[in-house]
């Protein structure tokens, strides 16, 4: 198996080499050596020693790191990046943390602090999921259930529901232990299953959990002699009026207080995960993820380590659940449904599966972005920014062509506006800028768009039809190549802008889910290593 895998890896390396070399003349002289990667040697001798880890690797592959650094340090931006990377990583994280603690001071209103708190929670959740799915490579689709169980435990033990008011410091370890045990109980039998079965069993577990949250409001326990059904979870009405967190006699009441508390936990979880990642356990997890059989052959206790990944990830989610419940002051079943799971997966995928900093950046981006999309001004700004930025990036080597496409989109718009607007003026509106938009600095740009684009009177129906057609057009665009793609690009862009303005802006909550779904697919297609991850040279 190793031989076959390595041979394939070698062939791919060769391919990559040729691709890369065509761009850089200095590597042309280097002849392929054809030395294959010997993974066993690497695993056996320990990855800590750099010289040893390069043992047996293709020379070109071994220099990958150096080449990447050389490439990165070019230009003014490269120098800046180099200086940033020169700083000790611990210092960098500390600086980021300090900056984050200042958010409530810098924030203009409570809403910003709320969003920051939510971001912190998502960072904790993403770090936990990163342990299970990223490091362990276990597709745990019941992750949100752990989060929910943690939250409901706090809700039951610190609310008027049963008249219990246990302190936070007691519930937190209790919840973490309970959820870890749950992860253990779920994992122990199901880890015998292969990857896909594990996914479905965990998904089923998640469904059972949310079903219980929803249905445990009328529990009939006649054998306990109860006269009426017991209301445990409150069903769809959830549990409200949860206690605030009290620590050392201080009660946390303000959003800023909760934010700082959440941030403290973010730091705690980060430290734990960061060190786990670099430990023997972290290396073993990665080995299992890459090749379970090979890891087992190397003496890794696969079963125990998988269970550990389950328990660690689950208990992080449980702690996040406790924090969430106390912070929101209430819990409802939809807080823990599948869309949360999808968002979490999108976060770790966006940042790069298996990387701690990737999980954090993914969580920060994907929790702030949807909030930004709520405001029409910001949403439009982001949309046009992404559109133009994307086009510029795509055509960064041939900017004339990019400008040409931008120009043809504009021309297409003008033609359509003049033709259709003149033929059937009754079909179209001539919208004024909304007051919220008129105040912004970009008002001229937005009024230009308003003057340029067609706005159908019946925006709902037309927008729906246009949405379907636009999706089809973009799918077609992905299939065609070369000249046809460039010709199709301008109308597809126009259609996208049209749908955005007529339909998508009106439904921001659905729009962001659509964007999330599309991002997941696109990411897997074009950058499976995530936004900030690095592409591996040697892949078997």
């Amino acid at each position: 198996m190793v031989g076959l895998g390595a041979a394939r890896g070698g062939a791919q390396t060769h391919h990559t080499r040729q691709k890369a070399c065509s761009g850089r003349a200095e590597h042309d002289a280097r002849k392929p050596k054809g030395v294959f990667i010997v993974r066993c040697a690497q695993l056996g001798m320990g990855a800590g020693l750099k010289s040893l880890s390069e043992f047996g690797r293709d020379e070109w592959v071994a220099r990958e790191e150096k080449r990447r650094q050389d490439g990165a340090s070019r230009g003014r931006l490269g120098l800046l990046r180099q200086a940033w990377q020169g700083v000790d990583s611990r210092l960098r994280w500390l600086a980021a943390l300090l900056l984050a603690t200042l958010v409530p001071l810098l924030a203009s209103n409570v809403y910003v602090v709320q969003v920051a708190g939510l971001t912190g929670l998502y960072v904790i959740l993403a770090l936990g999921l990163n342990v299970v799915a990223g490091l362990g490579g276990l597709l745990d689709l019941g992750y949100v259930a752990f989060y929910g169980v943690g939250a409901y435990l706090y809700a039951l033990l610190a609310s008027p529901q049963f008249g219990l008011h246990w302190p936070f410091l007691l519930i937190l370890p209790l919840a973490v232990a309970a959820v870890a045990l749950l992860g253990f109980l779920l994992g122990a039998p199901s880890l015998r299953l292969r990857g896909d079965y594990l996914a479905i069993v965990t998904l089923g577990f998640g469904q059972i959990a949310s079903l219980l949250f929803l249905n445990l409001d009328r529990v009939d326990l006649p054998f306990l002699g109860l006269a009426q059904p017991l209301n445990v979870t409150g069903g769809p009405n959830g549990i409200i009026n949860l206690d605030s967190i009290s620590l050392l006699g201080l009660t946390v009441r303000t959003p800023a207080g909760y934010y700082e508390l959440i941030l403290f936990f973010v730091a705690l979880v980060f430290l734990a995960v960061y060190h786990l990642d670099r430990s023997r356990i972290g290396r073993a997890w990665r080995a299992i993820r890459e090749d379970e059989l090979a890891a087992q052959t190397m003496g890794v206790d696969v079963r125990r380590l998988k269970l550990l990944a389950f328990a660690v990830g689950g208990s992080i989610a449980g702690a996040a659940g406790v924090l969430f419940a106390a912070w929101q002051g209430s819990v409802f079943p939809p807080n823990f449904d599948v869309s949360v799971l999808i968002i979490l997966y999108a976060m770790i995928v966006l940042g790069g599966v298996g990387s701690v900093s990737g999980a954090i950046s993914g969580a920060v981006i994907l929790s702030i972005l949807p909030e930004a999309l709520r405001s029409p001004t910001l949403a439009r700004l982001l949309f046009y920014g992404a559109l133009i930025g994307g086009l510029l990036y795509l055509y960064r080597r041939q900017w004339q062509r990019g400008l040409l496409i931008l120009g043809s989109v504009a021309a297409l718009g003008i033609v359509l506006k003049v033709l259709l607007g003149a033929l059937e003026p009754a079909w179209f509106l001539h919208p004024q800028l909304a007051p919220s938009l008129a105040d912004s600095a970009l008002a001229p740009f937005f009024s230009l768009i308003n003057a340029w684009l067609l706005f159908p009177r019946n925006s709902l129906t037309v927008g729906n039809v246009a949405f379907v057609l636009t999706v089809l057009a973009w799918l077609a665009l992905a299939r065609v190549k070369g000249r046809a793609r460039e010709i199709l690009l301008a109308p597809a862009l126009y259609a996208l802008i049209f749908v955005w303005e007529t339909r998508l802006l009106a439904d921001p909550s659905v729009t962001r889910m659509l964007i999330l779904g599309a991002v997941l697919v696109l990411m897997m297609n074009y950058r499976p290593q995530g936004l900030f991850g690095q592409k591996w040279v040697q892949r078997t």
Partner: protein, 309 residues
């Protein structure tokens, strides 16, 4: 006990109908898994789109209180339109979300599938709104048409669902066992590389598999619409889970297994909701699945697979 015996035939009939639908959905999962070892999480949403396409055809052919064409033709057109649309959708999903990832690590196509599923659900939510849509089944099959059999009332709608599902499964069986394409599918499922070396156009086989599996899912969508009359954008999620559960129950990758698994799941569910509590109907399926996987992880009819090294 008396109540149990009195209710039993009715619950069995209900379970059989439900099971037929689950079996249709399960087939789509199982066929794709058999060939690509890929969990097509978007399959439930393909089924949902099928239900909406059927509803659209119905709305087109019955704009007012009367049908424009005979009822049997309406049903046939609904099924055909949904199957065609879903088949094409399945092929498109394969093209855009799975094909580029065929050599990627296993987790990549799964996440891509989650993305597709999320996109489809929200696209339907955007276009059709969150409102429930109603199949006016009464216009097609009068509710007075029913048979009483061993104390169970069997409506004609249920008979239709079982009959259509049975016919489709028979057709599939013929296709897989008796045609050249079926042979190619079986060969590809057994060993993709070897099949390619023997001259099977593997890509084409995969496209056909997606088409057929998704078309069956679309038919299931229409049947569920006719049976339960209410459809909405999120219906594919639970149904997809059930379909997958059924596929795993029967042994994933195994076509007769998917049919058997669907029937077993339908029966267990309707007996469970009839005699235990309807509130935990969706949970019963998973409890059964988890228990079964622990005892016999390859499913009812699945073969023991040795991991290739």
């Amino acid at each position: 006990m008396d109540i149990f015996l009195k209710e039993l035939p009715q619950q069995l009939v209900n379970g059989l109908t439900l099971g037929a639908v689950y079996a249709l959905i399960a087939l789509g999962y199982s066929m794709v898994y058999g060939i690509l070892q890929l969990l097509n999480f978007a399959h439930g949403d393909v089924y949902m789109i099928g239900a909406f396409v059927g509803w659209g055809v119905f709305a087109l052919l019955a704009p007012g209180a009367a049908l424009l064409v005979p009822a049997w033709l309406v049903i046939l057109l609904m099924l055909l339109a949904a199957m065609l649309a879903c088949g094409l959708l399945g092929v498109a999903i394969e093209w855009f979300a799975y094909r580029p990832l065929r050599t990627a690590p296993r987790i990549a196509p799964l996440i891509s599938a989650l993305g597709v599923s999320f996109f489809l659900e929200n696209a339907v939510l955007l276009v059709m709104s969150a409102r429930y849509r109603t199949y006016r089944t009464g216009m097609l099959i009068p509710s007075s048409w029913n048979v009483t059999f061993l104390g169970a009332t069997v409506s004609f709608t249920r008979i239709l669902v079982i009959a259509v599902a049975g016919l489709l499964m028979l057709a599939l069986h013929y296709l897989v066992q008796c045609t050249r394409l079926g042979k190619a599918m079986r060969a590809t499922a057994q060993d993709r590389e070897a099949a390619a070396m023997m001259g099977v156009d593997v890509d084409q086989v995969i496209v056909f598999t997606f088409f057929i599996g998704s078309a069956l899912g679309g038919a299931a969508g229409v049947l569920v619409g006719v049976l339960f009359t209410q459809i909405y954008h999120f219906m594919g999620f639970t149904a997809g889970l059930k379909g997958f559960t059924a596929a795993v129950l029967g042994g994933i990758g195994n076509i007769p297994g998917a049919m058997l698994g669907g029937l077993v799941l339908g029966l267990v569910e309707s007996l469970g909701s009839g005699f235990i509590s309807p509130r935990y109907k969706d949970g019963i399926a998973f409890v059964v699945l988890i228990l079964l996987l622990l005892v016999r992880s390859r499913g009812l009819l699945g073969l023991k697979i040795r991991e290739k090294v």
